[in-house]
């Protein structure tokens, strides 16, 4: 852009804008390319891919791959399992975390700071240290290879982090609000339910969006406490699909689209909350 004649200011700005869009646009396209590839592959027929290769222009269109992954590949059952685990886990975890955060942030409990950090610390542990004992523990409790085991461990492992984030949020609520309620004779439950919880809604929304994707996308805990194919959530089922349909990329791609669709939907619907959640989670 180093022209001999210095261009006028507006022109230079226009050039800079064009340059920006060129750069950012290229980057965005590069980032979306793998996604586009999967979307395209998922609607191509096997023969088409076999004949022309994965990277070629599509010569066919079919939705049969989705049916195949959904029915024969067991994606339907897996998706149901995933939702059966994810929805209760998100609800229970956030409820428990909100309760603990409320108690720790609004009452002068003994050792509250240590308790808070103990709970956060549990969440920061590398899961590897827990895998073997957790799988044995779930056997001992008779819940090995059942969805409640997965829900239990996800709640126990996740709750500390949400307590910490919500604690930071609830702490910022001015004490006067609560004092007024106490004067009016409100008990802890009313204060929690009527005052603090409604004020915490933005943080809860953000954390719901975030935790939904985290739990939905988990693989490690699932393959640690589950064994039967019929119990596996979508992530593990996708690996199964990969083994079942070796190099049938059309079916595998369709399976990936199915597995990613719920979290993408949550993201697109709650984008603002989502990004807010990530930043809430970062200890500043």
């Amino acid at each position: 852009m180093a022209t001999v004649h210095t261009p006028s200011a507006p022109r230079r700005r226009r050039l800079a804008t064009a340059g920006f869009h060129l750069g950012a646009g290229t980057l965005a396209v590069l980032w979306l390319l793998p996604i586009a590839l999967v979307l395209v592959t998922s609607v191509r027929s096997f023969d088409d891919i076999a004949a022309h290769g994965l990277g070629s222009r599509p010569h066919s269109f079919t939705l049969g791959n989705f049916a195949q992954a959904w029915v024969d590949g067991g994606q339907q059952r897996a998706l149901i399992n995933s939702l059966l685990v994810t929805v209760p886990t998100v609800l229970v975890t956030l409820a428990l975390a909100a309760m603990a955060a409320f108690a720790l942030s609004r009452y002068e409990l003994p050792f509250r700071r240590s308790l808070l950090l103990l709970m956060l610390g549990g969440n920061l542990l590398p899961p590897q240290i827990l895998l073997i004992p957790v799988s044995k523990l779930s056997e001992l409790m008779g819940v090995y290879d059942t969805l409640p085991a997965l829900i239990g461990v996800q709640i126990g492992f996740g709750v500390g982090f949400y307590v910490f984030v919500l604690h930071g949020f609830m702490r910022a609520i001015p004490p006067e609000i609560q004092q007024a309620a106490v004067v009016d004779g409100a008990g802890p439950w009313q204060i929690f339910w009527r005052i603090i919880l409604p004020l915490t809604r933005p943080a809860l929304a953000a954390l719901s969006a975030l935790s939904f994707t985290w739990i939905f996308n988990d693989l490690l805990w699932a393959i640690t406490v589950l064994r039967s194919d019929t119990k596996m959530p979508i992530t593990a089922a996708l690996i199964g699909l990969q083994g079942q349909y070796v190099s049938m990329w059309n079916v595998i791609a369709a399976g990936s689209v199915i597995a990613a669709a719920p979290t993408v939907a949550v993201f697109l619907r709650f984008q603002r909350h989502f990004v807010a959640g990530l930043n809430l989670g970062a200890v500043k």
Binding site: H21, A103, L116, L131, P133, L219
Partner: protein, 311 residues
């Protein structure tokens, strides 16, 4: 300080007795106590107790069927002569440096590029962020299609006349680890970018203006204004990266299972296969302890920072 009891603040503060509060109004209502204890119990059952067991099991030899036998530090001694352990540790370090370092640098770079509010910026940000919501398994499968011997990458190389570079990317010991890092990065950069975007937004524009007036160029402003202002975000990103790196499992497991010949083995995958496939639960626990030790510094500093913030 969000200490909340009605009568607080009126008494001219003789330090309240540690532990139980004496006066009736200060007594914690039982419901509030339950609010803490129930979640704590859930975490104790599923995390604290298993963690203690995990440390103990690392000192045993156990096949998961008969009772574990105590062997002291034998498992750790065995590691010294275990070539796979050495490979996995080296790969984990490499993973930390490459995956961690590149996602921090590129995350910051994209955040700088996309920090200004302008037309179309939302689309660019969303595009970079979108992979963050995919599971690592789905991410892995996407990239497996790219890496296949007859996959997209090789086709592209061929079409631009670089046939010589064609490669079984995931099946070659020399490229497997790097081929696995790329999808992980693809997914992580958007996440780090979002953290940095928030950090950049928090910088007072007056600082940049002042620097500009003093004649600082873009690089100087980045070096002496932006970077120092991002210090706390950097600390967060560092913790996130180290913890995520040491946890990385899904993407490697779905793409290579640590192979070929352990060339993409990380400590996390080695631990998993040792424990659940070779059924050497004692040795697997010892490997988990090594991962814990590596993560400990970061966890501790994260907690210290949280501790300071919590009051």
């Amino acid at each position: 300080m969000a200490v909340l009891t009605t009568t607080k603040s009126t008494s001219p503060a003789p330090a309240p007795p540690r532990g139980r509060r004496g006066r009736g109004a200060r007594r914690t209502p039982p419901l509030v106590l339950a609010f803490v204890l129930i979640p704590l119990l859930a975490e104790a059952v599923w995390v604290f107790w298993p963690a203690l067991q995990g440390f103990y099991l690392s000192l045993t030899s156990w096949d998961g069927v008969s009772a574990p036998t105590f062997v002291g530090l034998d498992n750790f001694r065995e590691m010294a002569g275990d070539a796979t352990f050495r490979d996995a540790t080296w790969n984990t370090v490499l993973w930390l440096v490459l995956f961690g370092g590149l996602s921090a640098v590129l995350g910051l770079a994209t955040a700088l590029l996309l920090q200004q509010e302008r037309r179309g910026i939302g689309f660019y940000r969303a595009a970079l962020f979108l992979p963050v919501v995919f599971s690592l398994v789905a991410t892995a499968l996407v990239w497996q299609a790219i890496y296949q011997p007859d996959g997209v990458l090789n086709q592209v190389l061929e079409s631009v006349g670089l046939e010589s570079l064609r490669h079984a990317w995931l099946a070659d010991r020399d490229t497997a680890l790097y081929a696995v890092i790329v999808p992980a990065l693809w997914r992580q950069i958007g996440y780090v970018m979002v953290l940095y975007l928030a950090g950049l937004k928090g910088i007072d524009p007056a600082l940049h203006e002042a620097a500009k007036v003093d004649g600082a160029g873009p690089w100087q402003r980045f070096r002496h204004v932006t970077l120092p202002q991002l210090r706390s975000v950097n600390a967060v990103v560092l913790s996130v990266i180290v913890i995520d790196s040491l946890r990385s499992f899904d993407v490697v497991w779905s793409l290579t299972r640590g192979g070929p010949y352990h060339s993409s083995e990380l400590l996390s995958t080695y631990m998993y296969s040792t424990a659940f496939q070779s059924l050497r639960l004692g040795y697997g626990s010892a490997l988990a302890v090594v991962i814990f030790v590596l993560a400990f510094g970061v966890i501790a500093s994260y907690l210290v920072r949280a501790f300071r913030e919590a009051d």
